[in-house]
Protein backbone atom coordinates (compact mmCIF):
# COMPACT_ATOMS: atom_id res chain seq x y z
CA UNK A 1 0.00 0.00 0.00
CA UNK A 2 2.73 2.54 0.86
CA UNK A 3 5.48 2.62 -1.71
CA UNK A 4 8.52 4.71 -0.84
CA UNK A 5 10.93 5.12 -3.73
CA UNK A 6 14.41 6.46 -3.33
CA UNK A 7 13.51 9.23 -0.93
CA UNK A 8 16.16 11.80 -0.02
CA UNK A 9 15.71 14.44 2.64
CA UNK A 10 18.05 17.42 2.83
CA UNK A 11 17.74 19.98 5.56
CA UNK A 12 19.77 23.04 4.65
CA UNK A 13 22.90 21.65 3.07
CA UNK A 14 22.92 18.52 5.20
CA UNK A 15 21.82 15.23 3.70
CA UNK A 16 19.72 13.72 6.46
CA UNK A 17 18.31 10.67 4.75
CA UNK A 18 19.29 9.32 1.36
CA UNK A 19 17.91 6.59 -0.82
CA UNK A 20 15.15 5.21 1.38
CA UNK A 21 13.20 2.59 -0.54
CA UNK A 22 10.56 0.73 1.44
CA UNK A 23 7.36 -1.05 0.61
CA UNK A 24 4.77 -1.34 3.38
CA UNK A 25 1.91 -3.84 3.06
CA UNK A 26 -1.21 -4.57 5.08
CA UNK A 27 -0.49 -6.64 8.16
CA UNK A 28 3.01 -5.27 8.62
CA UNK A 29 4.16 -3.47 11.68
CA UNK A 30 7.40 -1.51 11.32
CA UNK A 31 9.81 -0.19 13.90
CA UNK A 32 11.89 2.79 12.78
CA UNK A 33 15.13 3.13 14.67
CA UNK A 34 18.13 5.40 14.53
CA UNK A 35 20.35 7.62 16.65
CA UNK A 36 19.16 11.05 17.74
CA UNK A 37 18.97 13.41 14.78
CA UNK A 38 19.14 10.62 12.22
CA UNK A 39 16.02 11.92 10.48
CA UNK A 40 13.36 9.57 11.84
CA UNK A 41 10.77 12.28 12.42
CA UNK A 42 11.53 13.98 9.10
CA UNK A 43 11.05 10.68 7.32
CA UNK A 44 7.74 10.08 9.07
CA UNK A 45 6.52 13.54 8.07
CA UNK A 46 7.40 12.74 4.47
CA UNK A 47 5.53 9.44 4.70
CA UNK A 48 2.49 11.32 6.01
CA UNK A 49 2.61 13.86 3.19
CA UNK A 50 3.18 16.78 5.53
CA UNK A 51 6.58 17.59 4.05
CA UNK A 52 7.80 16.88 0.56
CA UNK A 53 11.03 14.93 0.13
CA UNK A 54 13.96 16.64 -1.60
CA UNK A 55 13.98 13.74 -4.01
CA UNK A 56 12.00 10.59 -4.64
CA UNK A 57 8.34 9.57 -4.49
CA UNK A 58 5.90 8.38 -1.87
CA UNK A 59 2.95 6.50 -3.34
CA UNK A 60 -0.18 5.17 -1.69
CA UNK A 61 -1.91 2.45 -3.73
CA UNK A 62 0.13 3.57 -6.73
CA UNK A 63 -0.84 7.24 -6.48
CA UNK A 64 1.38 10.05 -5.18
CA UNK A 65 0.25 11.02 -1.70
CA UNK A 66 0.32 14.70 -2.66
CA UNK A 67 -2.43 14.04 -5.21
CA UNK A 68 -4.93 13.10 -2.49
CA UNK A 69 -7.20 15.75 -0.98
CA UNK A 70 -6.15 16.43 2.62
CA UNK A 71 -9.18 14.79 4.18
CA UNK A 72 -9.03 11.58 2.19
CA UNK A 73 -5.27 11.33 2.77
CA UNK A 74 -5.93 11.60 6.51
CA UNK A 75 -8.23 8.57 6.23
CA UNK A 76 -5.43 6.58 4.61
CA UNK A 77 -2.35 7.76 6.50
CA UNK A 78 -2.45 9.11 10.03
CA UNK A 79 0.53 10.62 11.81
CA UNK A 80 0.88 11.26 15.50
CA UNK A 81 3.73 13.79 15.73
CA UNK A 82 6.11 13.68 18.65
CA UNK A 83 5.12 17.12 19.87
CA UNK A 84 2.12 19.34 19.52
CA UNK A 85 0.84 22.52 21.04
CA UNK A 86 -1.24 22.15 24.12
CA UNK A 87 -3.55 25.12 24.07
CA UNK A 88 -6.57 23.02 23.18
CA UNK A 89 -9.59 24.30 25.08
CA UNK A 90 -11.97 21.38 25.10
CA UNK A 91 -12.27 18.34 27.30
CA UNK A 92 -10.68 14.94 26.75
CA UNK A 93 -13.61 13.45 24.85
CA UNK A 94 -13.73 16.40 22.44
CA UNK A 95 -9.97 16.25 21.99
CA UNK A 96 -10.06 12.55 21.18
CA UNK A 97 -13.02 13.15 18.85
CA UNK A 98 -10.99 15.63 16.79
CA UNK A 99 -9.16 12.62 15.40
CA UNK A 100 -12.30 11.89 13.39
CA UNK A 101 -12.12 15.27 11.64
CA UNK A 102 -11.43 13.73 8.25
CA UNK A 103 -14.83 11.99 8.29
CA UNK A 104 -16.79 15.13 9.15
CA UNK A 105 -18.79 16.68 6.34
CA UNK A 106 -19.48 20.40 6.43
CA UNK A 107 -21.68 21.37 9.33
CA UNK A 108 -22.32 17.82 10.52
CA UNK A 109 -20.40 17.12 13.65
CA UNK A 110 -20.14 13.50 14.63
CA UNK A 111 -21.96 10.48 13.31
CA UNK A 112 -23.09 7.61 15.53
CA UNK A 113 -20.19 5.55 14.21
CA UNK A 114 -17.83 8.27 15.40
CA UNK A 115 -19.38 8.14 18.86
CA UNK A 116 -18.83 4.37 18.98
CA UNK A 117 -15.19 4.58 17.94
CA UNK A 118 -14.55 7.45 20.37
CA UNK A 119 -15.99 5.30 23.15
CA UNK A 120 -13.78 2.35 22.10
CA UNK A 121 -10.69 4.53 21.96
CA UNK A 122 -11.36 5.98 25.41
CA UNK A 123 -11.73 2.46 26.79
CA UNK A 124 -8.68 1.11 24.98
CA UNK A 125 -6.45 3.76 26.52
CA UNK A 126 -8.25 3.80 29.89
CA UNK A 127 -9.51 7.35 29.60
CA UNK A 128 -13.22 6.82 30.40
CA UNK A 129 -12.90 8.45 33.81
CA UNK A 130 -11.11 11.44 32.36
CA UNK A 131 -13.49 12.05 29.45
CA UNK A 132 -15.02 15.20 30.96
CA UNK A 133 -11.74 16.69 32.19
CA UNK A 134 -10.14 19.72 30.51
CA UNK A 135 -7.45 18.46 28.15
CA UNK A 136 -5.09 21.14 29.43
CA UNK A 137 -5.36 19.88 33.00
CA UNK A 138 -4.02 16.40 32.16
CA UNK A 139 -0.60 15.11 33.20
CA UNK A 140 2.04 14.29 30.59
CA UNK A 141 1.20 10.60 30.50
CA UNK A 142 -2.54 11.21 30.38
CA UNK A 143 -2.11 13.62 27.51
CA UNK A 144 -0.07 11.05 25.67
CA UNK A 145 -2.83 8.48 26.11
CA UNK A 146 -5.40 10.97 24.87
CA UNK A 147 -3.22 11.58 21.81
CA UNK A 148 -2.93 7.86 21.11
CA UNK A 149 -6.69 7.53 21.44
CA UNK A 150 -7.22 10.36 18.97
CA UNK A 151 -5.12 8.57 16.35
CA UNK A 152 -7.20 5.45 16.99
CA UNK A 153 -10.31 7.55 16.31
CA UNK A 154 -8.75 8.84 13.10
CA UNK A 155 -8.51 5.16 12.11
CA UNK A 156 -6.25 5.43 9.04
CA UNK A 157 -5.06 2.44 7.02
CA UNK A 158 -1.48 3.25 7.88
CA UNK A 159 -0.67 4.43 11.41
CA UNK A 160 2.49 6.50 11.81
CA UNK A 161 3.61 7.05 15.39
CA UNK A 162 6.52 9.29 16.35
CA UNK A 163 7.93 7.99 19.65
CA UNK A 164 4.53 7.24 21.17
CA UNK A 165 6.09 5.29 24.03
CA UNK A 166 7.57 8.39 25.63
CA UNK A 167 5.70 9.43 28.75
CA UNK A 168 3.93 6.07 29.00
CA UNK A 169 4.43 3.71 31.92
CA UNK A 170 5.09 -0.01 31.39
CA UNK A 171 1.45 -1.03 31.33
CA UNK A 172 0.64 1.77 28.90
CA UNK A 173 3.44 0.63 26.59
CA UNK A 174 2.40 -2.99 26.71
CA UNK A 175 -1.21 -2.04 26.00
CA UNK A 176 -0.31 0.11 23.02
CA UNK A 177 2.11 -2.38 21.50
CA UNK A 178 -0.14 -5.38 21.84
CA UNK A 179 -3.08 -3.39 20.47
CA UNK A 180 -1.00 -2.34 17.43
CA UNK A 181 0.21 -5.89 16.88
CA UNK A 182 -3.31 -7.26 17.13
CA UNK A 183 -4.81 -4.57 14.89
CA UNK A 184 -2.28 -5.00 12.10
CA UNK A 185 -2.74 -8.75 12.20
CA UNK A 186 -6.54 -8.79 12.07
CA UNK A 187 -7.70 -5.62 10.29
CA UNK A 188 -6.48 -4.29 6.97
CA UNK A 189 -4.00 -2.01 8.67
CA UNK A 190 -0.29 -1.32 8.84
CA UNK A 191 1.77 0.64 11.33
CA UNK A 192 5.16 2.32 11.49
CA UNK A 193 6.55 3.48 14.79
CA UNK A 194 9.64 5.46 15.68
CA UNK A 195 11.11 3.98 18.85
CA UNK A 196 14.33 3.38 20.75
CA UNK A 197 13.75 0.04 22.45
CA UNK A 198 15.39 -2.71 20.40
CA UNK A 199 13.91 -5.55 22.44
CA UNK A 200 10.37 -4.28 22.05
CA UNK A 201 11.02 -3.89 18.33
CA UNK A 202 12.26 -7.45 18.17
CA UNK A 203 9.29 -8.78 20.07
CA UNK A 204 6.32 -6.81 18.70
CA UNK A 205 7.26 -5.68 15.19
CA UNK A 206 7.35 -7.73 12.02
CA UNK A 207 9.68 -5.33 10.18
CA UNK A 208 12.41 -2.86 11.03
CA UNK A 209 13.90 0.18 9.34
CA UNK A 210 17.29 1.45 10.52
CA UNK A 211 18.49 4.95 9.74
CA UNK A 212 22.24 5.35 10.03
CA UNK A 213 24.05 8.57 10.77
CA UNK A 214 25.58 8.78 7.30
CA UNK A 215 22.08 8.93 5.79
CA UNK A 216 21.92 5.35 4.56
CA UNK A 217 19.27 2.92 5.71
CA UNK A 218 18.53 -0.74 6.09
CA UNK A 219 15.13 -2.36 6.01
CA UNK A 220 13.62 -5.83 6.18
CA UNK A 221 12.03 -8.26 8.58
CA UNK A 222 12.96 -7.66 12.18
CA UNK A 223 14.53 -11.11 12.34
CA UNK A 224 16.97 -10.29 9.53
CA UNK A 225 17.69 -6.68 10.34
CA UNK A 226 18.04 -6.84 14.10
CA UNK A 227 21.48 -8.36 14.51
CA UNK A 228 24.31 -7.50 16.85
CA UNK A 229 26.45 -6.15 13.95
CA UNK A 230 23.71 -3.84 12.64
CA UNK A 231 22.82 -2.58 16.10
CA UNK A 232 26.43 -1.83 16.89
CA UNK A 233 26.76 0.14 13.67
CA UNK A 234 23.47 1.94 14.33
CA UNK A 235 24.08 3.07 17.88
CA UNK A 236 27.93 2.91 18.02
CA UNK A 237 27.58 0.85 21.16
CA UNK A 238 28.52 -2.77 21.76
CA UNK A 239 25.69 -5.25 22.25
CA UNK A 240 25.38 -8.80 23.54
CA UNK A 241 22.72 -11.16 22.31
CA UNK A 242 21.09 -13.36 24.93
CA UNK A 243 18.62 -16.12 24.25
CA UNK A 244 15.74 -16.11 26.74
CA UNK A 245 12.44 -17.95 27.04
CA UNK A 246 10.77 -15.28 24.86
CA UNK A 247 13.44 -15.36 22.16
CA UNK A 248 16.45 -13.11 21.64
CA UNK A 249 17.33 -10.19 23.87
CA UNK A 250 19.90 -7.51 23.12
CA UNK A 251 21.83 -6.02 26.00
CA UNK A 252 23.96 -2.92 25.51
CA UNK A 253 27.42 -2.99 27.11
CA UNK A 254 27.83 0.31 28.90
CA UNK A 255 31.37 1.12 29.80
Amino acid sequence: MLEVKNVNIDIGNRVVVSGVTVSVEFGQSWAIMGANGAGKSSLLRVFAGINKPSNGDVLFDGKSIHDFPKKSLAQKIGLLPQFEEHDYWGNVEEYVGLGGFSRSIGLWDKSDEDRVIIQEALEQFEMQNLRGRDYRSLSGGERQRARLASLMVQDPNLFLWDEPLENLDYSGRAKLLSWVAEMTKTAEKASMMVMHDINLANRFFTHSLMLFEDGTCLSGTSEDVLTVENLEALYRTQFDQVISQDGRLFLPRFR
Binding site: K70, G78, W89, L98, D109, D134
Partner: protein, 325 residues
Protein backbone atom coordinates in the same frame (compact mmCIF):
# COMPACT_ATOMS: atom_id res chain seq x y z
CA UNK B 1 -24.62 20.64 26.27
CA UNK B 2 -25.56 21.29 22.69
CA UNK B 3 -28.78 23.01 23.62
CA UNK B 4 -27.20 24.90 26.48
CA UNK B 5 -24.74 26.53 24.11
CA UNK B 6 -27.48 27.41 21.65
CA UNK B 7 -29.59 28.83 24.42
CA UNK B 8 -26.68 30.88 25.73
CA UNK B 9 -26.08 32.09 22.23
CA UNK B 10 -29.70 33.20 21.79
CA UNK B 11 -29.57 34.95 25.13
CA UNK B 12 -26.45 36.87 24.18
CA UNK B 13 -27.81 37.76 20.76
CA UNK B 14 -31.11 38.98 22.21
CA UNK B 15 -29.53 40.88 25.06
CA UNK B 16 -26.99 42.63 22.88
CA UNK B 17 -29.62 43.63 20.33
CA UNK B 18 -31.85 45.09 23.05
CA UNK B 19 -29.02 46.98 24.71
CA UNK B 20 -28.03 48.43 21.37
CA UNK B 21 -31.64 49.39 20.60
CA UNK B 22 -31.91 51.06 23.99
CA UNK B 23 -28.97 53.28 23.06
CA UNK B 24 -31.25 55.09 20.60
CA UNK B 25 -32.64 56.97 23.61
CA UNK B 26 -29.30 58.50 24.55
CA UNK B 27 -27.11 61.15 23.02
CA UNK B 28 -26.61 64.87 23.37
CA UNK B 29 -30.36 64.97 23.92
CA UNK B 30 -32.10 62.11 25.73
CA UNK B 31 -35.30 61.06 24.11
CA UNK B 32 -37.74 59.17 26.35
CA UNK B 33 -39.07 55.83 25.17
CA UNK B 34 -42.59 57.11 24.77
CA UNK B 35 -41.49 59.92 22.48
CA UNK B 36 -39.54 57.45 20.34
CA UNK B 37 -42.59 55.28 19.79
CA UNK B 38 -44.74 58.29 19.08
CA UNK B 39 -42.38 59.72 16.51
CA UNK B 40 -41.83 56.30 14.89
CA UNK B 41 -45.58 55.98 14.64
CA UNK B 42 -46.14 59.44 13.19
CA UNK B 43 -43.09 59.35 10.94
CA UNK B 44 -42.34 63.04 11.19
CA UNK B 45 -40.95 65.72 13.50
CA UNK B 46 -37.55 66.57 14.92
CA UNK B 47 -37.27 63.34 16.87
CA UNK B 48 -38.08 61.29 13.83
CA UNK B 49 -35.24 62.98 11.95
CA UNK B 50 -32.82 62.60 14.84
CA UNK B 51 -33.64 58.93 15.23
CA UNK B 52 -33.67 57.85 11.59
CA UNK B 53 -31.02 60.19 10.20
CA UNK B 54 -28.54 60.33 13.07
CA UNK B 55 -28.90 57.78 15.82
CA UNK B 56 -30.01 54.68 13.99
CA UNK B 57 -27.32 54.78 11.28
CA UNK B 58 -24.71 55.52 13.90
CA UNK B 59 -25.77 52.58 16.01
CA UNK B 60 -25.70 50.31 12.98
CA UNK B 61 -22.19 51.44 12.07
CA UNK B 62 -21.01 51.04 15.63
CA UNK B 63 -22.51 47.57 15.94
CA UNK B 64 -21.11 46.28 12.66
CA UNK B 65 -17.69 47.81 13.39
CA UNK B 66 -17.54 46.27 16.82
CA UNK B 67 -18.66 42.91 15.46
CA UNK B 68 -16.06 42.95 12.72
CA UNK B 69 -13.28 43.93 15.10
CA UNK B 70 -14.15 41.26 17.63
CA UNK B 71 -14.36 38.53 14.97
CA UNK B 72 -11.16 39.71 13.36
CA UNK B 73 -9.31 39.59 16.68
CA UNK B 74 -10.74 36.20 17.47
CA UNK B 75 -9.67 34.68 14.15
CA UNK B 76 -6.21 36.23 14.36
CA UNK B 77 -5.71 34.85 17.87
CA UNK B 78 -6.42 31.45 16.36
CA UNK B 79 -4.21 31.98 13.32
CA UNK B 80 -1.23 33.24 15.30
CA UNK B 81 -1.90 31.07 18.36
CA UNK B 82 -1.16 34.16 20.38
CA UNK B 83 -3.47 35.69 22.99
CA UNK B 84 -2.12 39.17 22.29
CA UNK B 85 -3.19 39.19 18.66
CA UNK B 86 -5.68 41.88 17.68
CA UNK B 87 -6.97 43.23 14.34
CA UNK B 88 -4.17 45.76 14.11
CA UNK B 89 -1.25 43.44 14.80
CA UNK B 90 -0.09 43.45 11.17
CA UNK B 91 -0.07 47.24 11.00
CA UNK B 92 -3.32 47.53 9.06
CA UNK B 93 -4.45 50.50 11.12
CA UNK B 94 -1.05 52.15 10.66
CA UNK B 95 -1.19 51.62 6.91
CA UNK B 96 -4.70 53.03 6.72
CA UNK B 97 -3.78 55.93 9.01
CA UNK B 98 -0.81 56.81 6.88
CA UNK B 99 -2.97 56.78 3.76
CA UNK B 100 -5.71 58.86 5.36
CA UNK B 101 -3.39 61.36 7.04
CA UNK B 102 -1.30 61.75 3.91
CA UNK B 103 -4.33 62.44 1.77
CA UNK B 104 -5.86 64.77 4.38
CA UNK B 105 -2.77 66.94 4.24
CA UNK B 106 -2.15 66.83 0.53
CA UNK B 107 -5.61 66.44 -1.06
CA UNK B 108 -8.13 67.25 1.66
CA UNK B 109 -10.79 64.97 3.11
CA UNK B 110 -12.46 63.93 -0.18
CA UNK B 111 -10.10 61.09 -1.00
CA UNK B 112 -9.16 59.97 2.48
CA UNK B 113 -11.18 56.73 2.42
CA UNK B 114 -9.65 55.61 -0.86
CA UNK B 115 -6.15 56.30 0.39
CA UNK B 116 -6.95 54.57 3.67
CA UNK B 117 -7.90 51.49 1.67
CA UNK B 118 -4.75 51.73 -0.41
CA UNK B 119 -2.50 52.06 2.62
CA UNK B 120 -4.11 49.15 4.43
CA UNK B 121 -4.19 46.98 1.30
CA UNK B 122 -0.51 47.61 0.75
CA UNK B 123 0.22 46.53 4.31
CA UNK B 124 -1.84 43.32 3.99
CA UNK B 125 -0.10 42.30 0.79
CA UNK B 126 3.41 43.25 1.85
CA UNK B 127 3.20 41.57 5.28
CA UNK B 128 2.01 38.36 3.64
CA UNK B 129 4.75 38.65 1.02
CA UNK B 130 7.59 39.39 3.42
CA UNK B 131 6.49 36.66 5.84
CA UNK B 132 6.34 34.22 2.95
CA UNK B 133 9.59 35.07 1.23
CA UNK B 134 12.22 32.37 1.30
CA UNK B 135 10.26 30.10 3.61
CA UNK B 136 6.82 29.06 4.69
CA UNK B 137 5.04 31.56 6.81
CA UNK B 138 4.45 30.49 10.37
CA UNK B 139 3.01 32.32 13.36
CA UNK B 140 6.40 33.61 14.46
CA UNK B 141 7.41 35.03 11.10
CA UNK B 142 3.97 36.48 10.51
CA UNK B 143 3.70 38.13 13.88
CA UNK B 144 7.22 39.57 13.83
CA UNK B 145 6.82 40.83 10.27
CA UNK B 146 3.54 42.51 11.20
CA UNK B 147 4.96 44.12 14.32
CA UNK B 148 7.99 45.41 12.38
CA UNK B 149 5.91 46.83 9.54
CA UNK B 150 3.56 48.51 11.94
CA UNK B 151 6.43 49.95 14.00
CA UNK B 152 7.95 51.45 10.86
CA UNK B 153 4.65 52.94 9.76
CA UNK B 154 3.93 54.33 13.21
CA UNK B 155 7.22 56.19 13.11
CA UNK B 156 6.16 57.76 9.80
CA UNK B 157 2.78 58.69 11.30
CA UNK B 158 4.45 60.39 14.25
CA UNK B 159 6.61 62.29 11.79
CA UNK B 160 3.56 63.48 9.87
CA UNK B 161 1.79 64.47 13.08
CA UNK B 162 4.77 66.48 14.28
CA UNK B 163 5.18 68.28 10.97
CA UNK B 164 1.50 68.89 10.30
CA UNK B 165 -0.17 72.21 11.15
CA UNK B 166 -1.51 72.29 14.73
CA UNK B 167 -5.04 72.96 13.54
CA UNK B 168 -5.21 69.54 11.92
CA UNK B 169 -3.59 67.69 14.76
CA UNK B 170 -6.65 67.23 16.94
CA UNK B 171 -8.76 65.78 14.15
CA UNK B 172 -6.01 63.36 13.23
CA UNK B 173 -5.50 62.17 16.77
CA UNK B 174 -9.24 61.69 17.14
CA UNK B 175 -9.34 59.61 14.00
CA UNK B 176 -6.42 57.47 15.12
CA UNK B 177 -8.10 56.71 18.43
CA UNK B 178 -11.26 55.66 16.67
CA UNK B 179 -14.08 58.05 16.00
CA UNK B 180 -17.40 57.19 14.42
CA UNK B 181 -18.58 60.76 13.91
CA UNK B 182 -18.19 60.65 10.15
CA UNK B 183 -18.77 56.94 9.65
CA UNK B 184 -21.64 55.80 7.47
CA UNK B 185 -23.26 52.38 7.33
CA UNK B 186 -22.32 50.47 4.20
CA UNK B 187 -23.87 47.39 2.73
CA UNK B 188 -20.60 45.65 1.98
CA UNK B 189 -19.34 45.79 5.57
CA UNK B 190 -22.55 44.16 6.77
CA UNK B 191 -22.13 41.54 4.09
CA UNK B 192 -18.52 40.99 5.14
CA UNK B 193 -19.60 40.51 8.76
CA UNK B 194 -22.18 37.93 7.72
CA UNK B 195 -19.64 36.07 5.58
CA UNK B 196 -17.21 35.85 8.47
CA UNK B 197 -19.94 34.43 10.69
CA UNK B 198 -20.80 31.85 8.03
CA UNK B 199 -17.13 31.04 7.50
CA UNK B 200 -16.56 30.29 11.17
CA UNK B 201 -19.68 28.16 11.43
CA UNK B 202 -18.81 26.08 8.35
CA UNK B 203 -15.12 25.74 9.21
CA UNK B 204 -15.67 25.68 12.97
CA UNK B 205 -14.13 22.28 13.57
CA UNK B 206 -11.12 22.99 11.39
CA UNK B 207 -10.58 26.24 13.28
CA UNK B 208 -10.82 24.36 16.57
CA UNK B 209 -8.23 21.88 15.32
CA UNK B 210 -5.78 24.69 14.54
CA UNK B 211 -5.08 24.98 18.25
CA UNK B 212 -3.22 21.66 18.03
CA UNK B 213 -0.54 23.31 15.90
CA UNK B 214 -0.29 23.18 12.13
CA UNK B 215 1.49 19.83 11.93
CA UNK B 216 -1.13 17.94 13.92
CA UNK B 217 -3.96 19.81 12.20
CA UNK B 218 -2.54 18.77 8.81
CA UNK B 219 -2.20 15.18 9.98
CA UNK B 220 -5.87 14.91 10.88
CA UNK B 221 -6.86 16.27 7.47
CA UNK B 222 -7.23 20.05 7.87
CA UNK B 223 -6.14 22.02 4.79
CA UNK B 224 -4.09 24.24 7.04
CA UNK B 225 -2.52 26.47 4.43
CA UNK B 226 -5.82 27.30 2.71
CA UNK B 227 -7.51 27.94 6.03
CA UNK B 228 -4.67 30.24 7.10
CA UNK B 229 -4.98 32.33 3.94
CA UNK B 230 -8.72 32.61 4.45
CA UNK B 231 -8.31 33.70 8.06
CA UNK B 232 -5.59 36.16 7.17
CA UNK B 233 -7.51 37.89 4.42
CA UNK B 234 -10.94 37.81 6.07
CA UNK B 235 -9.61 39.14 9.38
CA UNK B 236 -7.54 41.80 7.63
CA UNK B 237 -10.45 42.87 5.45
CA UNK B 238 -12.64 43.18 8.53
CA UNK B 239 -10.07 45.42 10.18
CA UNK B 240 -9.74 47.56 7.05
CA UNK B 241 -13.51 47.94 6.73
CA UNK B 242 -13.65 49.38 10.24
CA UNK B 243 -10.52 51.50 10.12
CA UNK B 244 -11.29 53.41 6.95
CA UNK B 245 -14.71 54.41 8.29
CA UNK B 246 -14.14 54.91 11.98
CA UNK B 247 -10.41 54.87 12.63
CA UNK B 248 -8.50 52.46 14.81
CA UNK B 249 -11.04 51.64 17.51
CA UNK B 250 -8.88 49.74 19.94
CA UNK B 251 -9.32 47.05 22.51
CA UNK B 252 -12.51 45.42 21.24
CA UNK B 253 -10.71 42.95 19.00
CA UNK B 254 -8.27 42.00 21.73
CA UNK B 255 -10.59 41.73 24.68
CA UNK B 256 -13.95 40.44 23.50
CA UNK B 257 -12.76 36.97 22.37
CA UNK B 258 -11.04 36.50 25.74
CA UNK B 259 -14.16 37.58 27.60
CA UNK B 260 -16.16 34.92 25.79
CA UNK B 261 -13.58 32.17 26.20
CA UNK B 262 -13.44 32.96 29.90
CA UNK B 263 -17.12 32.27 30.22
CA UNK B 264 -16.47 28.79 28.83
CA UNK B 265 -17.22 29.07 25.11
CA UNK B 266 -14.28 28.10 22.98
CA UNK B 267 -15.61 26.29 19.90
CA UNK B 268 -15.32 28.65 16.98
CA UNK B 269 -18.80 28.12 15.64
CA UNK B 270 -20.12 29.72 18.82
CA UNK B 271 -17.12 31.81 19.78
CA UNK B 272 -16.96 33.88 16.60
CA UNK B 273 -20.67 34.78 16.30
CA UNK B 274 -20.83 35.50 20.02
CA UNK B 275 -17.78 37.73 19.69
CA UNK B 276 -19.60 39.61 16.96
CA UNK B 277 -22.63 40.31 19.16
CA UNK B 278 -20.66 41.20 22.27
CA UNK B 279 -18.14 43.30 20.34
CA UNK B 280 -20.93 45.10 18.52
CA UNK B 281 -22.73 45.92 21.76
CA UNK B 282 -19.54 47.08 23.38
CA UNK B 283 -18.83 49.58 20.64
CA UNK B 284 -22.46 50.79 20.55
CA UNK B 285 -22.43 51.38 24.31
CA UNK B 286 -18.98 52.99 24.17
CA UNK B 287 -20.04 55.22 21.33
CA UNK B 288 -23.23 56.25 23.11
CA UNK B 289 -21.21 57.14 26.19
CA UNK B 290 -18.70 58.99 24.04
CA UNK B 291 -21.51 61.03 22.49
CA UNK B 292 -23.43 61.80 25.66
CA UNK B 293 -21.02 61.98 28.61
CA UNK B 294 -19.51 65.36 27.77
CA UNK B 295 -22.20 66.44 25.32
CA UNK B 296 -22.09 68.42 23.17
CA UNK B 297 -18.36 67.52 23.02
CA UNK B 298 -17.86 64.08 21.46
CA UNK B 299 -15.09 61.87 22.78
CA UNK B 300 -13.23 59.33 20.62
CA UNK B 301 -15.00 55.98 20.93
CA UNK B 302 -11.65 54.17 21.28
CA UNK B 303 -11.13 55.80 24.66
CA UNK B 304 -14.47 54.53 25.88
CA UNK B 305 -13.97 50.94 24.62
CA UNK B 306 -10.78 50.71 26.65
CA UNK B 307 -12.43 52.23 29.72
CA UNK B 308 -15.23 49.67 29.53
CA UNK B 309 -13.11 46.72 28.44
CA UNK B 310 -10.23 46.92 30.91
CA UNK B 311 -12.25 46.56 34.13
CA UNK B 312 -14.40 43.77 32.68
CA UNK B 313 -11.39 41.77 31.56
CA UNK B 314 -9.52 42.23 34.83
CA UNK B 315 -12.64 41.15 36.71
CA UNK B 316 -13.01 38.02 34.60
CA UNK B 317 -9.30 37.20 34.86
CA UNK B 318 -9.66 36.98 38.61
CA UNK B 319 -12.83 34.93 38.40
CA UNK B 320 -11.40 31.95 36.60
CA UNK B 321 -8.12 30.18 36.18
CA UNK B 322 -7.99 31.24 32.57
CA UNK B 323 -4.43 30.90 31.36
CA UNK B 324 -3.67 27.44 32.62
CA UNK B 325 -0.51 25.73 31.42
Amino acid sequence: MFFEKRLAFLWIAGLSMSISALCICFGSVSIPFKTIFESLYSGEGVHWTVITQLRFPRIVVAFVSGGLLAMSGCLLQTLLRNPLADPYIFGISSGASLGVLGSLIVLGPAFSIIFGFLGAGLVIVSVAYIAHRGADWNPYRLILTGVMVSAGLNALISLILVLSPPTMMKGMIFWMMGDLTYAEPRVWTGFLALSIVMFSIVFGRALDAMSLGSERALAIGVSVRKLEYFIYFLASLAAVAVVVEGGAIGFVGLVVPHMIRMTGTWRHKYLVPMSAFVGGTMVVVADTLARSLWAPIQLPVGVMTAMIGVPILIFLLNQRSYARG
